[in-house]
């Protein structure tokens, strides 16, 4: 069952035409986690979206790993602020009608 939730790193890299060392370096700086089973590296499906996003940053936008790490932090902050904004707007609806 667990294997169904994992994607082999080499298959991912082959599909995206990227070097395996790129994924390894992402692991080293803590941007993704890799699971190793019987000496084969896997990425959890839940991380696939994040990894694809990083691939786009690196290969399509020419952003280096340090930049991606910084962007990652900022995107997390944006998400937290957007969630907080939603919460506050809903709280404001207690007192007035807003668009």
């Amino acid at each position: 069952m667990q294997a169904e939730k994992l994607v082999a790193v080499d298959i991912f890299c082959a599909n995206h035409n990227i070097d395996i060392s790129f994924v390894s370096s992402l692991k080293q700086i803590g941007l993704i986690e890799i699971t190793t089973i019987e000496e084969i590296s896997f990425i959890d499906l839940t991380q696939l979206e994040q990894l694809e996003k990083i691939v786009r940053f690196y290969y399509d936008l020419d952003i280096n790993l340090e930049g991606i790490e910084t962007i990652n932090h900022l995107l997390q902050r944006i998400k937290a602020l957007q969630d907080e904004n939603t919460l506050l707007r809903n709280r404001l609806r207690l007192y007035e009608i807003i668009d």
Binding site: N15, H16, N17, I18, E52, K53, R56, F57, Y59, D60, L61, D62, I63, I71, L75, I78, K79, Q82, T86, L87, R89, N90, R91, R93, L94
Partner: protein
């Protein structure tokens, strides 16, 4: 349909080299890429536009055609026919980022010039994940109180979704695989549905808790008694304590909103009593109040 100045879009002049175009595109792509601008429709639209500009200007054949016929793009078809008749047919295999929306000037212009959808101009021949779709679904608070199934039509396809009870206004849920189709055999994108929940009920909602104001007549507030109030779960009988003050708040445990994805768990309902002073008193009532005040 308006002429679209791709050079202006990328902020370059007509003498720009391939390197200049790539550099200008990347600079703008870093600014407007949807991954860097979550939930920003303007950024997404700008990204589609610069993608389209890059698609044309980074391809020597398309750029030549654009430079030659750009402002008189209507003649491009004639140009193509002429080329085809000369056995020099070139076929564009542009099928990259599927961001362009049909019906917009940019895509119409692009299609009129080159046919087909825009591409991202990526160099890697990879499997692209399809575009994520965003949609807004309007519900009433009463609808959000119970888990329900709805059928939505997304790009002509009907999909059945389950909306868990307790969904929050402004909350977004992801329906995996129901976005745009993948490219080169890549996986489909996802569908993101943001809920807009209108509240026409007597209750105000904050998270899982509900708030309501209930009018209480003077006699019940002074002497106490039983009242029946409406909740989203039906009618509830309440015992009002004697000498209940205006503005008194009471909590009805588990009579609030369902906790999202936590079946059987509910927030609380807070009731605030508003004591209503009687008006249009009869002479007899007035005398009795006077008598009461003199006691």
């Amino acid at each position: 349909m308006n002429f679209v100045d791709y050079y202006k879009l990328l902020g370059i002049d007509k003498s720009a080299t391939t390197k200049d175009i790539k550099s200008a595109y990347r600079k703008l792509a870093r600014k407007y890429h949807p991954d860097l601008n979550p939930n920003d429709k303007n950024a997404k639209r700008n990204f589609q536009q610069i993608n389209e500009a890059n698609e044309v200007l980074s391809d020597p054949v398309k750029r030549k055609k654009y430079d030659q016929y750009g402002k008189d793009w209507e003649h491009s078809e004639q140009f193509e026919k002429q080329r085809q008749s000369q056995g020099q047919q070139t076929r564009s295999n542009s099928a990259g980022f599927s961001g362009a929306q049909s019906g917009e000037d940019f895509s119409d212009f692009f299609e009129a010039m080159f046919g087909g959808a825009t591409g991202a101009g990526r160099n890697r021949q990879i499997k692209y994940r399809g575009e994520d779709f965003n949609a807004e679904l309007h519900l009433d608070l009463i609808d959000a109180y119970k888990t329900q199934k709805q059928t939505l039509t997304v790009n002509g396809k009907k999909i059945r979704i389950t909306i868990p009870a307790g969904i929050e206004n402004g909350q977004t849920i992801k329906i995996a695989g129901h976005g745009g189709p993948g490219i080169n055999g890549g996986p489909a994108g996802d569908l993101f549905i943001t809920f807009s929940i209108a509240n026409h009920s007597l209750f105000k909602r904050l998270g899982d808790n509900l708030y309501a104001s209930i009018d209480l007549d003077l006699y019940t507030s002074v002497l106490g008694g039983d009242i029946t109030i409406d909740t989203l779960d039906g009618k509830v009988k309440l015992k009002v304590k004697p000498e209940t003050q205006n503005g008194t708040k009471i909590k009805l445990k588990d009579k609030g909103f369902p906790v999202y994805k936590n079946e059987g768990h509910y927030g609380d309902l807070y009731i605030t009593y508003t004591v209503k002073i009687p008006t249009n008193l009869t002479e007899q009532q007035r005398k009795l109040f006077i008598k009461l005040s003199e006691l």
